[in-house]
Structure formats: structure tokens, C-alpha cells
């Protein structure tokens, strides 16, 4: 059973007032990109902190890379980017990176060479300016995030854990992060990240686990999850303004179980027993110009909404208005 990077069996963590994680089990295959999905307060960060032995579970076991999670040498093989990012403000970039590397058991001299490499790779060290010699306060937010990212990967960890890595990133840094995750996977590393952005997860992850209120809702490879959720979904794009009559059709509960209205794009879940062709005819009759009408697998976003439920979009209620 060593083809799992992380094996979590029935862990529970209670805090004073509430249970943060309840009887959670999950298995992360080695060399995969794994998404830990859930709404805010679902217990994602608590789960991650338990994997990192920052806090201990009250019950259950965690094995990482084949050994118990509190093994002394495990931290050196993990790279961790916490949700709330921060660095010593008054410290020089190079010194802080060297410090983080030393905490992972690296020798200073080895770390120095790699720091230079990374700074150059992320454009923090160019011919004109070496930001490595600047203090953290002197860096822009984007640059600080790069430094933190270097700190996470400097010791070439086998397991990379990113807690909400996309929050606060601009599109360019966000793309760079995705590239980096793909690169890590290509090099055989395991990447776990938590997010509540389903689009990112759907595109990046091999497998996901959705948790809510501290409990697992579902998990497994994305392909399998989507297949299990059938093809009762329709992707619909309309040209021009959405007319009243179309809205009426979409609000018909005998046809439409649920609709996710993104203004010009709709993801529709058919009502049980409803016929997709009848829906198509009704929309055509309403006078709308259809650009796309396609039977699709539900998006992760849809599955998430369906399984976790979300305020404002409930069964049968069209999101118009």
C-alpha cells in the first residue's frame, strides 16, 4: 500500500465548542494532484494542519509517505504554503530563504546555490536588480508571494501542501502557480491543495475530496466523480439578452431541476424524467437564439453545489433576477 502518499484513517479533531473534523478518511495517490475542496469553515485548514503535525488529531491515524505523520524526518520532505502568508518583515530575502531551508534540514551552502537559481527563475534577480538583498518590507505583495513560494519548494519536497494557494493572486501569478503545480507533478511529486475555487480544482486535480462541516461529502478521481453524476446536465449559451419567456421556461420545475445562471451561460440540471429535447424545443419556441445546447457531464462546481448545497441556489429555483 505504498502507492499512497497520504493515508488518513478516521481522524477526528474537536475544539472547545465544535468538532472541526469528524471521522475523515482520505487517500492521496503518490504523484497526483489532489484537491481538498469545501466551503469556508469546512475543516480544510484543520485537516492540513493535522497532516503537518502542527496539531494532533484526537482520534484516527495519519501516515505520510509510508510512515506515521509525527515521524521526525517527515517535515523535511514536505513543503507547506499556509493560507495566510507572511514573512519576517525586517529580514533580508536571502537570509529568510536560507533560514527556511535550514529548518528543512538543508545545509546553508547548498541552500544558497538553490536560492540564487530560484530568484533568477522567478525574476527576482535580474541584471539590474537583485531583490534577494532587499528586505521583505521593500517588496511588492506579488514579490512577497513569490518569495514565500520559493520558501515552500526550496528543499525540493516530495509532498507539497498548498492551503488556498490561489487566494489573492493576480491572473499572472495564478497562471505561474498552475504551471508550477503541473511541473511538480511531472517530476513525480505529490501536490495537495485546498481551495473553494472549483474551476481551478477541476482543471488541475487528478482527484478531489469535498468536505463540508468537517465531514467528507465525496472523494475520488475527478473523472469517476463526474461520470457518477451522470449526464443529466445541459450547457446552454444564448445570444443577446435573456428574455422573460426563456426565464419562464427555465423556471419550469417539470423540466429543470436546477439552473446555474451565469448571465449568458447556463448550466442546467434536468428534472427527473424530463426530456432534453422537449426543453430545447421550448427554448426555441420562446424566441431565443441558441448558440450552444449540449448534454454535458456536470462541472465540479455543479456537483459541489448539489452535494454541499449553497445559500441562494436551491433545488428548482432559477437564479434569475
Amino acid at each position: 500500500m505504498t502507492d499512497y502518499c497520504i493515508e488518513i484513517e478516521n481522524i477526528t479533531k474537536r475544539f472547545a465548542q465544535h468538532v472541526a473534523v469528524r471521522n475523515l478518511s482520505l487517500h492521496v495517490p503518490k504523484g497526483s494532484v489532489y484537491g481538498l475542496l469545501g466551503p469556508n469553515g469546512a475543516g480544510k485548514t484543520t485537516t492540513i494542519r493535522m497532516m503537518l503535525d502542527i496539531i494532533a488529531p484526537d482520534e484516527g491515524t495519519i501516515r505520510i509517505l509510508g510512515v506515521p505523520f509525527n515521524d521526525k524526518h517527515i517535515p523535511n520532505r514536505i513543503g507547506y504554503l499556509p493560507e495566510e502568508r507572511g514573512l519576517y518583515r525586517k529580514m533580508q530575502v536571502r537570509r529568510i530563504l536560507r533560514f527556511l531551508a535550514e529548518l528543512k534540514g538543508m545545509k546553508g551552502a547548498v541552500a544558497d546555490a538553490r536560492i540564487t537559481e530560484w530568484l533568477e527563475r522567478l525574476d527576482l534577480k535580474t541584471a539590474e536588480k537583485d531583490w534577494g538583498l532587499a528586505k521583505i518590507d521593500e517588496l511588492s505583495r506579488g514579490m512577497q508571494q513569490k518569495v514565500q513560494f520559493i520558501g515552500t519548494l526550496l528543499h525540493d519536497p516530495d509532498l507539497v501542501i498548498l492551503d488556498e494557494p490561489f487566494s489573492g493572486l493576480d491572473p499572472i501569478n495564478s497562471q505561474a502557480l498552475k504551471d508550477a503545480v503541473v511541473d511538480l507533478k511531472r517530476r513525480g511529486k505529490t501536490v495537495i491543495f485546498s481551495t473553494h475555487l472549483m474551476d481551478n480544482a477541476e482543471r488541475l486535480c487528478d482527484s478531489v475530496c469535498i468536505i463540508a462541516r468537517g465531514e467528507k461529502v465525496l472523494d475520488g478521481p475527478i473523472a469517476r466523480i463526474k461520470a457518477e453524476h451522470g449526464t443529466r446536465n445541459i450547457a446552454l449559451s444564448l445570444d443577446g439578452e435573456t428574455s422573460e419567456s426563456v426565464a419562464e421556461v427555465l423556471a419550469d420545475r417539470s423540466l429543470v431541476q436546477r439552473v446555474d445562471d451565469s448571465n449568458r451561460y447556463f448550466e442546467i440540471e434536468l428534472a427527473p424524467g424530463a426530456d432534453s429535447q422537449r426543453l430545447l424545443r421550448r427554448i426555441v419556441d420562446s424566441g431565443a437564439t441558441i448558440q450552444r445546447f449540449e448534454l454535458v457531464q456536470p462541472s465540479l462546481h455543479q456537483i459541489f453545489l448539489e452535494r454541499v448545497g449553497a445559500a441562494g441556489i436551491e433545488s428548482g429555483m432559477a437564479g434569475h433576477g
Partner: protein
């Protein structure tokens, strides 16, 4: 161990590199130096200064008393200072001569002028005006010199010959004051009191300063969220230990620099003061045995560890500087209460107060070194204080480690004491 070392190194180097540390370390000795030199220079002003003899004597009598006063002042003159000048003037021209002398004082040619007139000969009054008119002992010196001269004059008129006169009046009476304390009489009493006060003050100051420093460090790691990255790599106990050791080493470095600088300055004190024209009694540095030095070091380390652990616990349980200032009050009260008793204990180092305060763990790190510096302390007192302190240190570290581990990742409202007690009981 390598990771602990990495943390210690960071804590130490990042602090030693700051401007604040460099300024405090350099200006500490400068400050102490000023404390040593300035009072002596001020004291000199209340002794006889070199300006004392740099005066004009306006003799409005024809008795020649002015010359004799000048001669007497000359005998008291310190080397290198100007001799008094005598002007014999007619009583009618006195006011003109006075205004001339005033101008010379204003131009700083002389420091003042002395008027000798009929009333002086009658032993009633002399007048002096000058820059040093407020220097008490300059004035006392002038008065006694003139008085002595007049007395000699009268005795001479009565027919006492000059050799006999000198024999009779020469009396270099010196007051030797020696202090008697509970321990009996000892010449070095003052020295050891000063030494003990400095030791206690230094300990108090570095515990407060560097304890606050630990608190601020913990708070920074918490608010910038660096803590989470660090504790994902090392156990929180290692981070706590590294911080206390690193900051303690910074404090120790500063003290070593201060002590060395102070010793050098004591050695330089004599020549420097001579430059200011102050004659000094050689000041003996207290004899500190190696054993005493080691004992002082042990008390500093234990005291620092005790307070630094508690400061760290406070730092991890709050979210901002403002909250920290409130939460740290109980600790400060312990420290300030100790500091308040330094003075009474200095005055009565063998009393009940001294005994109790030197044994209580929270005040022992400051008061026991004070007692040790004042003289011999029974070995069992030292042993009890040490044992209590070691025990308290262990308890403080244990408590701090548990509060720290939970508090470091806990944001939001400040925990109540009851919540903190629950943190302590968390298993892992």
C-alpha cells in the same frame, strides 16, 4: 539540534544587526561613563575649582591685607591655574575699579573679584562677585582664606612672630568618614553597595528589555503568520526554546560588552578626571571572584528563562501590541515589585525583606545577586533560591510551551484565563 541552532542563529543575528541594538550597546557605556564622570566634575565645582584663584582682589585699604590674602590663596592654587591679582585702590575709586573688574569677568579674563575694605578689616564683611558665586565651596574657601588671613593679621599685631604663627594656625584638618553597617565597619562599604546596585539594576533592566523582546518576537511571528511555516518544520517547543536562547544570548552579549567597557572606563576614570582638573581618590573596583561571577551568570540565565518563557506565553496568546500591553501587566507587576525593593534591601541587606525576596522565585533572580554582591550569603540561602528558581523555570517553560503551541495558531479574541488553562490541558 541543527534546526534549533538555525532558530537560535536567526533570533541572535537578526537582533544584533538592528540599529537599536548597536545604539544601545554603544551608548550604554557612554551613558555609564557620563554617570561616572559628570558627578565628579559637578562635585569638583563644589570643591575648590581652578577658577577659585583666578580672581582680582580690590584692596580699598592701605593695610596690605590684599597682598596677604593673595599669598594665602596662592598656596591653595592647583597647578596650571591663574594666580590672584591684587589692585590697591582708593575707597573713592572703588566703584570705578569694580565696574572695570566686572567687565574683565564678563570677558572671561578672570572668574571674579573680591573687595576688601574697612568692614573687612573689622571682620564684618567681604564682598565677592563672579561667575563661580554659586559654587558653595569656592565661596566657603574664599571666606575661610580671608578669615584666616585676618586672624593672622590680628595675632601678628599682638606680637606673635610669623614662624610661631604658622605653627599655631597650620591645621590641614581632613575629615575621614567611615560607614558602619550591620556587618560592622568596612572601608569598601560604598563600593560594594554601588556594585550591588549596578548588578541588580542591570539584571532588572535586561530581564525587562529582553523579556519584552521575546514577547514582541512571538507576536511578530504570530501576526505575520510566519509561525505556521516554522511550526510545520519544527515542533513549537523547539521554536520557543530557540527564541529564548537566541534572545538571551543577545542580552548576554550586550552585558558582556557593557561590563568590559565599564571596567575600561573605571581604569580611564582617573586620567579623564585629571583632565577636568579634579583630583580623585583612587576608586577600587570590587574584587569579584570567579565563583561569584558564575553564580551571577546562573541567576541571570535562570531569571531570564523564567520571565522570557512567560513573556512568550503572553505573546502567543494575544493578537496585537495593545492587547499585549494589557496582558503583560501581571508580569510587569512582579518585576516592578522586585525593583521597588532594591533600595530598601540595599540599605538593609540582612533584614527579613531581603531574605524573603531573595528566596521567592520571581524576585530571586534580581535580589539574590544583590545580596551576593553585598557580601557573604549563607550557602543554604543560595541553594534554596536556586532550587526554587530552577523548579519555577521548569514549570514556566512547561506552561509556556503548552500555551504557546495553541496560542500561536489561534486568532481572534483574546483568550480568558480559563481558556488558557484549557489550552494547557490539550493533549497534542
Amino acid at each position: 539540534m541543527a534546526k534549533l541552532w538555525a532558530i537560535v542563529k536567526r533570533e541572535y543575528l537578526e537582533r544584533v544587526r538592528t540599529k537599536w541594538f548597536i545604539i544601545a550597546t554603544v551608548f550604554g557605556p557612554v551613558f555609564f561613563g557620563t554617570i561616572i564622570i559628570v558627578p565628579a566634575v559637578i562635585a569638583k565645582r563644589s570643591k575648590s575649582s581652578s577658577e577659585f584663584t583666578n580672581t582680582v582682589i580690590l584692596d580699598a585699604t592701605t593695610s596690605g591685607v590684599g597682598q596677604r590674602v593673595a599669598a594665602a590663596m596662592n598656596r591653595m592654587r592647583t597647578p596650571g591655574s591663574a594666580a590672584p591679582q591684587v589692585r590697591v585702590v582708593q575707597p573713592s575709586a572703588l566703584s570705578a575699579a569694580e565696574s572695570l573688574a566686572t567687565h574683565r569677568v564678563m570677558r572671561k579674563e578672570v572668574s571674579g573679584y573680591l573687595v576688601i575694605d574697612r568692614q573687612t578689616l573689622d571682620g564684618e564683611q567681604i564682598r565677592y562677585a563672579g561667575r563661580n558665586a554659586t559654587a558653595i565651596s569656592d565661596m566657603e574657601g574664599l571666606r575661610s582664606t580671608v578669615k584666616e588671613t585676618l586672624l593672622n593679621e590680628r595675632l601678628r599685631k599682638e606680637g606673635v612672630d610669623s614662624a610661631r604663627l604658622r605653627e599655631l594656625t597650620f591645621m590641614p584638618l581632613r575629615l575621614d568618614a567611615e560607614r558602619i553597617t550591620d556587618k560592622g565597619r568596612g572601608g569598601s562599604g560604598t563600593v560594594s553597595i554601588i556594585f550591588a546596585a549596578i548588578v541588580a539594576f542591570l539584571l532588572y533592566m535586561s530581564i525587562v528589555l529582553y523579556g519584552q523582546n521575546v514577547l514582541r518576537g512571538v507576536l511578530e511571528e504570530k501576526t505575520t503568520r510566519v509561525a505556521e511555516v516554522v511550526v510545520s518544520s519544527v515542533p513549537s517547543e523547539t521554536l520557543l526554546a530557540g527564541k529564548v536562547i537566541g534572545v538571551g544570548a543577545v542580552g548576554l552579549t550586550q552585558q558582556v560588552i557593557w561590563v568590559i567597557a565599564s571596567v575600561i572606563m573605571f581604569k580611564l576614570r582617573q586620567p579623564v578626571l585629571q583632565r577636568f582638573g579634579v583630583a580623585t581618590i583612587p576608586f577600587q573596583l570590587p574584587e569579584i571572584s570567579l565563583g561569584l561571577a558564575l553564580l551571577l551568570l546562573v541567576f541571570f540565565l535562570l531569571g531570564f528563562t523564567f520571565y522570557a518563557s512567560l513573556y512568550a506565553a503572553v505573546g502567543s496568546s494575544v493578537n496585537s501590541e495593545q492587547e499585549a500591553q494589557q496582558a503583560v501587566q501581571p508580569l510587569l507587576i512582579l518585576l516592578v515589585a522586585t525593583a521597588i525593593f532594591i533600595n530598601p534591601i540595599l540599605l538593609n541587606p540582612t533584614g527579613q525583606l531581603a531574605l524573603v525576596m531573595s528566596l521567592l522565585p520571581f524576585s530571586a533572580p534580581i535580589i539574590m545577586p544583590l545580596r551576593l554582591s553585598l557580601g557573604s550569603v549563607p550557602w543554604y540561602d543560595v541553594a534554596i533560591a536556586l532550587a526554587g528558581l530552577v523548579l519555577s523555570c521548569l514549570v514556566a517553560m512547561w506552561l509556556a510551551a503548552r500555551i504557546y503551541r495553541v496560542g500561536l495558531l489561534m486568532y481572534g479574541k483574546r483568550p480568558t484565563l480559563r481558556e488558557m488553562a484549557r489550552w494547557v490541558s490539550y493533549s497534542g
